[in-house]
């Protein structure tokens, strides 16, 4: 039956199966080589993917609070589905962006007798497979919660299967529907925009979406808490303009509270979902192959000579390794969109966290006059100090150009120095400018230049130590490790969970025990300096030891 359906859409079933199987296999495998042919298959797993799924599951557990706090399933599911929609949209852009624009695939498949429609159908199947994994990781805890919640509200313990089914079906439709819509939009744009420009545009769109999704994670729980009791039982008409509300209307069906408006909304949701799939398959693939082939073969415009910026950056450093790495990082920042975005992603997050930190009464946590309320609000501003070194360190390590890193393994320069150069450049070019901006913010709020300076010294030492620790944990040559599906989601998720805990602990300790006494402050800062120096020595030893065993990944 499936084969007949595929034939009706001019899709070769056998080829589709082969392509889909390979796509899943490739994504599930480690992109780096850490095993040999005799080792077990378990080692062949993409652990980044597993970890990111676990992180989404953890976030999904947090999101069950909506189900328990809001008594109306329509409203709670509207929030849940909206977050899922943003999550899928963001994933599609950051992880699956290469699905539609994949010149690598093209070099292999373009000479095989595969129609663009079959190729595309395989890509769609692969996308749906992964989107459903993430959607379920995020939504499954809420699906279970919906099954339990009505009974937990005082009607004794029993499972409500109808609510669970409504939540499950809604989740699947939202996840898959958003993915399909993204693909339709993506390929429609590809017809008119050169794929390199499209990649840039979509990357910035992804940046904005990350901003929204992480913002929604942080803002929604407190907002729900505030308005929870005020949400109207009768839904205003405008709510049905939100596509996610169509799927929330399934809950009215499950509860038996279906009126004409929610029935219409549920029907629109169902029709949109069923309609988008054949639309995607029939409209998208026609010019896809042509656009892709042109896009992947048209040479990029040549740029001649070394820019003055490059010369300036290089001349700042005395050591050869520092100059080489500075030039490389600058060049990658200029030309590698993903690297640039990895760095720039910190800007919307910083603005978001600053906004969130200041919205509770407009007071920034002053560690010299600590109070609990402003600490809770401002913790996110400090959290960026952990996030920043980790983000940029990862961005500098993982690259699509990792094959070019052979140069580090054959040149007579010191590998240890090369890695240390990365730290130095990241610190001076990224961390210090960020802290300078933060200094201005502190100055505005603290109104005490001495407090700002004292606080900045500590933050500088913290940032530097974090950078040292990240390098200690996993010393790597710059741009030498291949990128892997799920790695960015994993990193951000880990930092979002661990970052605030570490930072709030440190800030509290410093606020109450260090900043209150100048003598203690001087001793602790001196100790921190000594610690940093010891870490540096240890770092050099460890890097030298680790790098002596490090092999080229290509």
């Amino acid at each position: 039956m499936l084969e007949r359906l595929f034939t009706a859409y001019d899709i070769d079933f056998i080829q589709w199966k082969a392509l889909t199987r390979v796509a899943i296999r490739l994504a599930n495998r480690q992109s780096s080589l850490r095993f040999d042919s005799t080792s077990s298959r378990r080692k062949d797993m993409n652990y980044s993917l597993l970890l990111s799924v676990f992180i989404y599951f953890f976030l999904g557990l947090v999101m069950t609070s909506f189900v328990f706090k809001l008594h109306d399933s329509f409203w709670s599911s509207l929030i849940l589905f909206t977050i899922v929609a943003f999550m899928v949209g963001s994933l599609m852009l950051v992880e699956f962006g290469t699905i539609v624009v994949a010149p690598e695939d093209y070099h292999i498949f373009s000479v095989q007798p595969v129609s663009s429609r079959t190729y595309f159908a395989a890509k769609v199947a692969f996308t749906v497979f992964y989107v459903l994994i993430y959607t379920m990781a995020l939504g499954l805890p809420s699906v279970i919660a919906y099954g339990l919640v009505s009974r937990l509200r005082g009607e004794g313990f029993a499972i409500n299967p109808y609510q669970m089914i409504a939540a499950f079906v809604g989740l699947v439709m939202v996840g898959v529907g958003v993915a399909m819509t993204m693909i339709v939009v993506y390929t429609a744009i590809l017809r008119y925009v050169h794929f390199r420009k499209l990649k840039n545009v979509l990357s910035y769109l992804q940046l904005t979406m990350s901003f929204i999704i992480y913002g929604s994670y942080s803002l929604l729980p407190s907002s729900v808490e505030k308005v929870g009791a005020d949400l109207p039982a009768t839904k205003p008409w405008w709510v049905y303009l939100l596509p996610m509300s169509w799927y929330s209307s399934f809950f009215n069906l499950a509860d038996g509270t279906l009126d004409s408006v929610s029935l219409l909304a549920a029907a629109v949701g169902l029709i949109s979902f069923v309609g988008i799939i054949p639309f995607a398959l029939s409209k998208i693939s026609i010019t896809y192959a042509e656009s892709l082939s042109e896009a992947s073969t048209v040479p990029e415009e040549k740029q001649s000579g070394q820019s003055t910026g490059s010369r300036k950056v290089s001349s700042v450093f005395q050591r050869d390794e520092d100059r080489a790495i500075a030039m490389l990082i600058r060049s990658q920042f200029k030309h590698d969109t993903r690297f640039r975005l990895g760095i720039l992603a910190i800007i919307p997050l910083t603005i978001l966290y600053l906004f969130m930190g200041l919205r509770g009464g407009g007071k920034l946590y002053d560690p010299f006059n600590p109070d609990w309320k402003s600490l809770a609000n401002s913790a996110l501003i400090y959290f960026v100090i952990v996030l920043f070194p980790m983000t940029i360190k990862e961005a500098v390590t993982r690259s699509e150009s990792y094959l070019a890193s052979w140069i580090f393994f054959v040149t007579p320069s010191s590998q240890t120095r090369l890695v240390l150069s990365v730290k130095k450049i990241l610190f001076w070019f990224f961390v210090v400018p960020y802290l300078s901006v933060l200094a201005l913010v502190f100055l505005y709020y603290f109104r005490n230049i001495l407090h700002v300076l004292m606080h900045l010294v500590v933050l500088l030492l913290f940032s530097y130590s974090f950078l040292q620790v990240f390098l200690l944990v996993n010393p790597q040559m710059p741009f030498s490790v291949p990128r892997q599906l799920g790695e960015r989601a994993t990193m951000l998720g880990t930092v979002m969970i661990l970052g605030p805990i570490v930072l709030v602990g440190l800030l509290l300790g410093f606020s109450f025990f260090v900043y209150q006494n100048t003598a203690v402050y001087i001793v602790v800062v001196a100790l921190l300096v000594v610690l940093t120096m010891l870490l540096e020595k240890f770092l050099v030893m460890r890097i030298s030891r680790k790098l002596s065993r490090l092999e080229f990944r290509g």
Binding site: Q15, L26, L33, Y106, V111, V114, T297, P299
Partner: protein, 254 residues
Amino acid sequence: MIETQQLTKHYDTKVAVVNLNLKVSGGEIFGFLGPNGAGKSTTVKILTGMIFPSSGNAQVAGFDILKEPLEVKKRIGYVPESGALFESLTGWEYLQLIADLHHLDRQIAGKRIEEFLHLFGLWDDCHARLQQYSKGMKQKILISAALISNPPVLFLDEPLNGLDANAALVFKELLKKLSMQGKTIFFTSHVLEVVERICTRIAIIDHGGIIAEGTAQQIADSTGTQTLEESFAKLTGVRDARESAQDFLEALGS
């Protein structure tokens, strides 16, 4: 088997191939030579359906490359110069993928894969990922993938890249035998001695157009030289080789 009429390709203002007219028959090993950037790879990409010509026509294995590209692709095997492979797959998996895309019966495919892997000495590594393969081993996989569907037309872009001497010897003999079976082989290489030895006819392309065509002897005669290498240098060399080498040495000494 391969025929082009006024084939032209340009990228914006840059012209890669201009009014190319070629005719390669079954049983021929056609050597296609040219300096870097002359238009060789662009021609091969058009003939294999990877890119579309700006104007002109091309037929491969009796099918128009623009009107029936899938029919062409069913009948060709291609060894790309880029060596692009899915490196997370094993050698066996990659060949199985290509066999599936050509609708080869699983049993036949399995047998062919096994034989190719044995012949190329890759059997012991067939379940290791391609990432672990050496350049030569990857090239053997690419050659196996091109041959697995037993196509009537083969496009080989630097097929000897990375092959060890024994494998290269076997491969060259294989090409001769395949041409004797009537297969058309479009052979691109910078190793002129090999081209001279195995190709039945040669064309030299420069700046997107054919500048010489015939057997190695005919080209040498027409340029008043002794070997194909000398003919190539005379036709396409912008500077005297000895002079250039001397300039390099002087640059090193500065």
